[in-house]
């Protein structure tokens, strides 16, 4: 008898989760290198009795849209954008982490670091240090870093077979146990940044949809409540 409410509950919970994902996408509309996400739901069917069949909504996972974000020119020589798939690798105490955000800087040891101060790794897994009297920083489309005093190394760009299996850590970082492969075809653009690939219109329509569906779940529960009340009233009058 109570199943209608439970089915509606499963949908309402799923919708709240979807709203959270949408809200996170909208909040990160201007975050460098951010990839938008969308939740995946599946129908979860249960057959408690022979002729009964319920299907509930179950969230299976969040799916990351790995398409490229808009590339905008900043003119800052330490801003780099990746054209094509792949990630930059940065060094942390817990091992390498991967990121698409190419807003780099130099630290006081003149090492190339990302915006959180984590050193950016080159293709051999070591940090890139600039000589103190160099002023002109150039990064070629292949990722080769050089100054007027000579080459310094190549920024490591890696890709993964199972890109969806990367875990997000916040701060634009991703983690995985998979062994990275060098991304050969990905170009590096100096003086550009990759924006967030969140599509505002899509998120707004998603949000309206979530809101309306939530209201219809509420009306379904309301209708169910009325139905039960009527049933109890009629049944008690009969006796």
């Amino acid at each position: 008898m109570e199943n209608t409410s439970y089915i509606a509950l499963s949908r309402a919970t799923a919708l709240e989760r979807k709203m959270q994902v949408v809200a996170n996408n909208v909040a990160n509309m201007n975050t460098t290198g951010f990839k938008s996400e969308s939740p995946l739901f599946i129908e979860y069917v249960e057959k408690p009795q022979k002729d009964e069949r319920y299907s509930m909504a179950l969230d299976l996972g969040t799916f990351r849209d790995t398409s490229a974000g808009p590339i905008t020119m900043t003119g800052n020589p330490l801003d780099v954008a990746l054209e094509g798939d792949g990630y930059f690798s940065v060094d942390t105490l817990n091992g390498p982490r991967y990121t698409r955000a190419g807003n780099f800087a130099l630290n006081d040891n003149r090492e190339l670091v990302n915006s959180a101060g984590l050193p950016v790794l080159d293709s051999n897994g070591s940090t890139i240090t600039f000589p103190p009297n160099a002023s002109d920083i150039r990064i070629s489309p292949q990722g080769d870093v050089s100054t007027e005093l000579g080459p310094l190394g190549r920024i490591g760009i890696v890709r993964f077979e199972k890109e969806q299996a990367l875990t997000q850590l916040g701060n634009g970082l991703y983690q995985t146990n998979e062994k990275p492969v060098a991304a050969e075809d990905t170009a590096v653009r100096q003086g550009y940044l990759e924006g967030s690939n969140v599509k505002a219109i899509l998120e707004m329509t998603n949000m309206i949809e979530v809101n309306r569906q939530y209201q219809s779940v509420q009306r379904l529960l309301q209708g169910e409540h009325e139905r039960l009340r009527n049933a109890y009233q009629k049944l008690s009058r009969l006796s």
Binding site: T32, P39, R64
Partner: protein, 261 residues
Amino acid sequence: MRSLMIGGTGMLAQQTNVEVISNNIANMTTSGYKMQRAEFQDLLYQNIRRPGAQSSDAGTIVPTGIQLGLGVKTASVYRIHTQGTIVITGNNLDLAVNGDGYFQIEMPDGTTNYTRAGSFQLNADGQIVTADGYTLLPGLTVPANTLDITIDGSGQVQAKIDGQIDPQVVGQIQLARFPNNAGLEGLGGNLYRETPASGAAVVGNPAIDGYGTIQQGSLEQANVNVVSEITNLITAQRAYEMNSRVIRTSDEMLSALSQLR
């Protein structure tokens, strides 16, 4: 309802963004001003279902998992120290640095600060000072009966003194460079201070070893690109509005919830 809070973080971030952009626009014509940019990062993720977790005894794994983000934060507001446009003013104590390097300014408390704004003047003692009267380092005195001052690209200051045929060398302007310009702390008044992030100042003569060239009779304008600031402002404002929509929608969902019975 987490989406309410997430929308809130989004609005806060966009507010910071608008503040940074408006400061850039306000300083559009400040000489030697370097534009700032707000940089955002996503907050931590909640793992509801970890990607890569096993979903059966046969070793099948969850391909994507459920990771719910918790919003956005301002990671940094950093300065972009690219070269600004150099305009000719004709005033012989207006100096522009073409390339890397900062003028060293002695503050009244004896510490050294740095600036790119080279609109200098002479004070009563013949010292070269900023618009606020702080002296340019290394200190030099221009003789009283000087007719004209010439400062060459490498920072040598020569004075043409009344009654003398050859100009007299009165001093040498030196510039300071930093390992990480973006780490300098802005103090207002076009001044910057050294921090651990910027690294220690390396002082040297202009026009050699990567130091910029000094250009007399010119000033460096702000490196603010107005068109891109205005488009950034529009984007930030729209993003702010959309985050407020998130809050409104979450509110409507909560109100639907409270009407349940």
